[in-house]
Amino acid sequence: MTTTTSSAPGPLRVRGEVLAVRRAGAFRVLTLSAPGVPAAFRPGTFVVVSPGDDRLTARAWWIHRVEAAGAFGPTIEVVIDPATASGAWFAGLPVGTRLGLTGPLGRPFTLPRQPVSALLVGEGHAVAPLLALAERLRSRECRVTLLVGAPDEQHLLAVREARRLVRQVVVVTEDGSVGQRGVVTDHLPGLLRSSEAAVVYTAGRPDAVRLVAQAADDAGVPSQVGLESPMPCGTGLCHGCVVPVVGDDAVPRQVRACVEGPVLPGHRVDWEALA
């Protein structure tokens, strides 16, 4: 029984399996069988898995790509940064490992009704949800600019693929090994102007996306931020993932990042209170 008002199919709990693990620079891309999940996927949604019966909280991962009917049935891809403890655990699972996973979860990126210009900003693994978004935007005839950042070449995700998909791809690395030297915020004001963006999309950790949302705000452009904040259950049950927001009535409230997010309008997040 799905009782959400949206017409999309709801999230599912499925028994998945690690089908393949491949390297993408410093990251690992895992292909997981996930029956039913591709059909309900929209860019900005995620899946959760828990490391085991003894480690009970959910770990959230953006759905990077879906395949509804591949050789192994319905599959999804996730991009894992093995530099964190959870990432190392997940990326290290041997092919064949079976695990319970729940998804797609959360509210996806909202697509513009008009074919406007959109600026997508992502750093490191957090570029993962933006490629599928770029595709959908393109199919709505939006002009898409993608700003990709990373500390170095190893942490640049899917740039080649992005170039095939997107009108303009701007790459910045902190060490200058690829593209321009610097961080994404150096290039935001300029790109906001030059792309004539009517909307900014971003995803990542609160400290990173905050800067993007603020740059957008400064330029008077609305933003949609996919927030990577801790989600103990991921399904809306525990109230353990609240994010402070300011309502249209200017009243401070809290929303659960997992069900009312992870994608939120940048101007609604109370960034001061979140820190």
Partner: protein, 276 residues
Amino acid sequence: MSDVLAGLRLAHPVMVASGCGGTGRELAPYVDLDGLAFVTRTLTREPHPGSAMPRVLESPSGLLHAVGLHNPGIEVFLSDELPWLVRAGARVLVSFCATSLGEYAELTRLLAGAPGLGGVEVNLASPDADAVGAFDAREPFHAASAVAAVRRELPADLALLVKVRPDPVRVVETARAVRDAGAGAVVVGGALAAAMPDGRPAGLSGPAIRPVTLAATRAVRRAAPEVPVVACGGVTAPEHVRAYLDAGAVAVQVGTGLLHDPTLITRLAHDLEETP
């Protein structure tokens, strides 16, 4: 099964534990709510913003939580959440706690007339209830006063559950006292009193505490067999439900297990049907 909890017609004896079913809507994609006993998160007179983050952390085979009774207040719940749950067919039990005996009575009056309500669960077991100034019910006598205050105002056709700390050493006295004060059943098992790494009071739940709750359940059944017990703690598999029922519980509640796998209740109920 139908009558054990004061006339609540339940589809099966596996209930949603307080604070672990969201508003119910979030559970709906995974579980058929029709006939399911759903205990709400603990509600209070006034809305509460809850605790600071982090609120829920992992602990070995358990969860530590300090949600701080985040809730919109009983009145908002009654207007905004209860009708949906009732329409979905859930047997709704409102968990609540209050700051004084007078407020227990007042909140019970508010709840008494709520259309479709199945009953209440008086929460005397929250490790972080101090934070909201909850009435101190550590001593059996005080626990009994709170229950008596509720009993006086609660219509007889509503179930009255009382949730008590699953402390094997103390639980029998408390269970007897609240039963004498009018509880229809005692829920043995909130989270264990614990602390977040930063020292804030927190509850410890999940498989880690199951042997404690099982011992407390047994202690009540042995020393006070007249008290119907609903057991709650660490259920994640069918054999845990059976262990609690074997120990004499009339029903079980599932909390942490649902956060880990929201379809758990369906699986547990299914197993009970297969092997009654």
